[in-house]
Symmetry: C2
Subunit: 284 residues, 2 copies
């Protein structure tokens, strides 16, 4: 496995791999790799011939007061995980390498980035889509892999790739969960023991949503009410949103129909957690 710190080095190594006829897979990450990332890497290893992972805590997707400084950066451990999972090249750029002295160009996706997390993290998705545009242009992968846990991110990136005709395919992999249902996240390690326990109620609220829809409930308000009831049992929780939206347009509806995304964002103490499930209601 090679570790590249510069754009030139990544390009050289990917070009060599491509010239050998290898299909390039790419998993962009902010490091602090966990079993969620490992499942993305495993998909990439299965579906492509030469897997590149980037580890970059991207400053432009953090807002003021968010956890950019505090975000975990266990690089040696991350590299060990990459080595063991069959990654061929890890790109570990500095912020200077990625953004130079001043970045003036942004790739932005309208509409899809406005509801849900977009309401609470202004500028976040602009930072995400821009850094992905940059990384896609640097690595030039055939396929890039993202997790369903960051549902809105995956939707925005798929849309950017389609709208800007970027020559790659986006694969979205299922959310990986702890045995008790909590979605795996690098931010889970911020939680105290009690908060960690309370956090299981997030997935419980999503399961409640699934059960109600399967039982024939179609009134969105009613379902969200029940979900909120569960989430409000977390003592230190501040709910950001509990939403049921169309899974493609992310528009909310009064009546559940078609393919929907049920999504939750909640702050437990100062730790912001998100989770979601996709449901096909089968209704038109």
């Amino acid at each position: 496995m090679e570790v590249a710190e510069t754009i030139q080095s990544v390009r050289r190594q990917v070009t060599t791999a491509r010239e050998k006829g290898k299909r390039i897979g790419f998993v962009p990450t902010m490091g602090a790799l966990h079993i969620g990332h490992i499942s993305l890497i495993e998909s990439a290893v299965n579906q492509t011939d030469f897997v590149v992972v980037s580890i970059f805590v991207n400053p432009t997707q953090f807002g003021p007061g968010e956890d950019f400084q505090k975000y975990p950066r266990p690089l040696d451990q991350d590299l060990e995980i990459c080595r063991k999972t069959g990654v061929r090249l890890v790109f570990v750029p500095t912020p200077e390498q990625m953004y130079g002295s001043e970045n003036l160009t942004w790739a932005t996706v309208e509409k899809l980035t406005e509801p849900l997390c977009g309401q609470f993290r202004p500028g976040h998705f602009r930072g995400v889509t821009t850094v992905c545009a940059k990384l896609f242009n640097i690595v030039q992968p055939d396929v890039a892999f993202f997790g369903q846990k960051d549902a809105q991110q995956a939707i925005a990136i798929k849309r950017m790739v389609a709208d800007l005709n970027m020559p790659l395919q986006i694969v979205v992999c299922p959310t990986v969960r702890e045995p008790d249902g909590l979605a795996v996240s690098s931010r889970n390690k911020y939680l105290t023991k009690q908060q960690r326990k309370d956090a299981t109620l997030i997935y419980k609220s999503l399961q409640k949503c699934r059960e109600m829809i399967e039982a024939g409930v179609t009134n969105t308000k009613e379902i969200i009410g029940q979900m909120r009831k569960i989430l409000n049992q977390i003592p230190s929780a501040k709910l950001e949103y509990v939403s049921i939206v169309d899974s493609e347009t992310l528009e909310s509806t009064d009546k559940v129909c078609g393919k929907i995304l049920a999504a939750v964002a909640v702050k437990i103490g100062s730790t912001r957690l998100i989770d979601n499930i996709l449901l096909d209601t089968g209704k038109q």
Copy 2:
């Protein structure tokens, strides 16, 4: 020479050329090809092995009330010019092919797109950079060629390519002029005989700027005053801007120094014309 109407067809043909080891040159145009475009194509033919020209009157770079509908579209003549100049592939997409039912994604360059034309054509550069991002992703050229006449466009595109790490080189070719100095433009054909004659004062004003700087004048206001005097001789002219700015940052300065861009935009009747010159003052 091949003519492609779909993205798939362009990609297939460019891939074949690249597999044969050809270096891909690209000249994006809105058609109505003139000797300015021909000089770009000639540069591309000289510097690369397989030249692609796109002809697409891009709706997203026209504002309301601008000349999108009226813009000339002499396709047969354009194809004949491409054939004669050694172009290998012409991409002639429909708006539907380029933008689908709804475009949500924009590539935007801040700051550099705000002064000069940016003040008078809100949204114009966003349309330009976005369509270029799309075309670059479709054609995937090694080099793309732009004209110095659209100086701010060239600067914004160069910046986008650098900031987003797009894997291509941008070459900016000198402005081509009529024998009397008027910069060649597809919009010159909108001019009446008298307006066409008056339009030569645009380049005369730029030559005045050069002369004054060469004579040691450094006061920007004084130079712009003299340029305006010349342009105000055009009876039907409405001056949009007469500016002297840093050629890289496009910021205006009170005192001429370093490399500067002198740029003019003027409406003669309803026809909007722009022109500029680059000058190295040699001063720090």
